[in-house]
């Protein structure tokens, strides 16, 4: 099987190299691993670092958001590399690469289509405000998708080729995290959550979705559902 690890990146020149170098070079059941970094219109040397240390470096001419950057990376993986599994993860060092094997195992064993790396199954060390906003986001996701999951906002996920063929995303910002669940329900895709460790540093805590953006996300999700009618 071929695996692509997609990392959307915005102004991550300081940490991107160490993140890419920490990714596994070999995994059980995987013949070839690609790393795809989408530079989302960074103002620093993120793209130069990506070109040097990633298998594939893509570049957005303007900043569009994590959702768009992720989708660009996934598009490349499915269209040009024809990978069997795609993992998405953050490029700010928040996600532990050691969890990648647990993420892909249910797909390699052909038991599930999508695996969600849940930070909430073991939320030790997570700031209380993040726990609260994640739970609120889970509730909103339940309203829009009918699926209850412990961590609907994590970017650490694995998708099978079948899932990527069926999932059609219409949102482009952070709201894509929620939209994926609506697509899982619509396409009857099987998913499972596995616990993942989060590395909270001052650097990674400063990144991530600002709480004030949640109103914007909610409006876009409402719009998505209204224009679907």
């Amino acid at each position: 099987m071929k695996l692509a690890i997609v990392l959307p990146a915005y102004n991550e020149e300081k940490i991107l190299r160490s993140v890419l170098e920490s990714l596994p070079k070999k995994l059980t059941g995987i013949k070839k691993i690609y790393t795809i970094v989408t530079d989302d219109g960074s103002k620093d040397k993120t793209y130069a670092v990506a070109k040097k240390y990633a298998t594939v470096a893509l570049r957005h001419k303007i900043n569009l958001g994590a959702g768009s950057a992720t989708i660009t990376g996934i598009r490349y993986a499915t269209r040009k590399l024809n990978t069997d599994i795609v993992i998405t993860m953050d490029s700010d060092g928040q996600h532990d690469p050691k969890n990648i094997s647990a993420l892909i195992k249910p797909i390699v064993n052909k038991k599930y289509d999508v695996v969600i790396g849940s930070r909430m199954l073991d939320s030790k060390g997570m700031p209380p405000i993040k726990i609260f906003t994640n739970k609120f986001a889970n509730f909103i996701t339940f309203i829009f998708s009918g699926i209850w999951a412990s961590d609907t906002q994590t970017g650490f996920r694995a998708y099978s080729r079948k899932a990527l063929r069926k999932i059609k995303l219409r949102t482009t910002g952070y709201e894509y995290c929620t939209e994926v669940f609506a697509e899982l329900k619509r396409n009857n895709l099987k998913f499972i959550e596995v616990p993942v460790k989060v590395i909270y540093s001052d650097y990674s805590k400063a990144k991530g979705q600002p709480i004030a953006n949640s109103i914007n996300v909610l409006i876009k999700l409402i719009n998505r559902n209204l224009t679907k009618l």
Binding site: L58, K61, L64, Y76, T172
Partner: protein
């Protein structure tokens, strides 16, 4: 005697129509849009100049309740919300198209 509010409305209407005409001449706006703005602002100026006629109109619309001001405000607000929604949808479509273009360009450049 013309009030300050009426003069202000007429001045603002003249400004908008002049700008719209200049855009029409430069090819930035089509004749339909120009006529739309002319008619819209003509209505607004008429309302400003003859408020009594408008009062009568909304009094008839509000029927037995006789609350013509509330009716006028409610209708105005409804229209404004409609315009906001239409603008939001258009902006959203433009944003989606932009996202698609930038994404496809990123992939194309990688392949070159």
């Amino acid at each position: 005697m013309i009030t300050f509010a009426q003069a202000f409305t007429a001045f603002f209407a003249a400004l908008v129509v002049t700008k719209s005409y200049a855009d029409l001449k430069r090819g930035r706006e089509n004749i339909i849009m120009f006529l739309f703005w002319v008619c819209s602002w003509a209505v607004i100026v008429f309302i400003a100049m003859y408020p009594a006629v408008v009062d009568l109109f909304f009094a008839k619309l509000s029927g037995e309740t006789g609350n013509s001001v509330a009716t006028a405000l409610a209708m105005g607000l409804t229209f404004v919300f409609f315009i906001i929604y239409r603008l939001y949808i258009k902006a959203d479509r433009v944003e989606k198209t932009l996202h698609k273009l930038v994404s496809e360009l990123a992939i194309k450049e990688r392949e070159e």
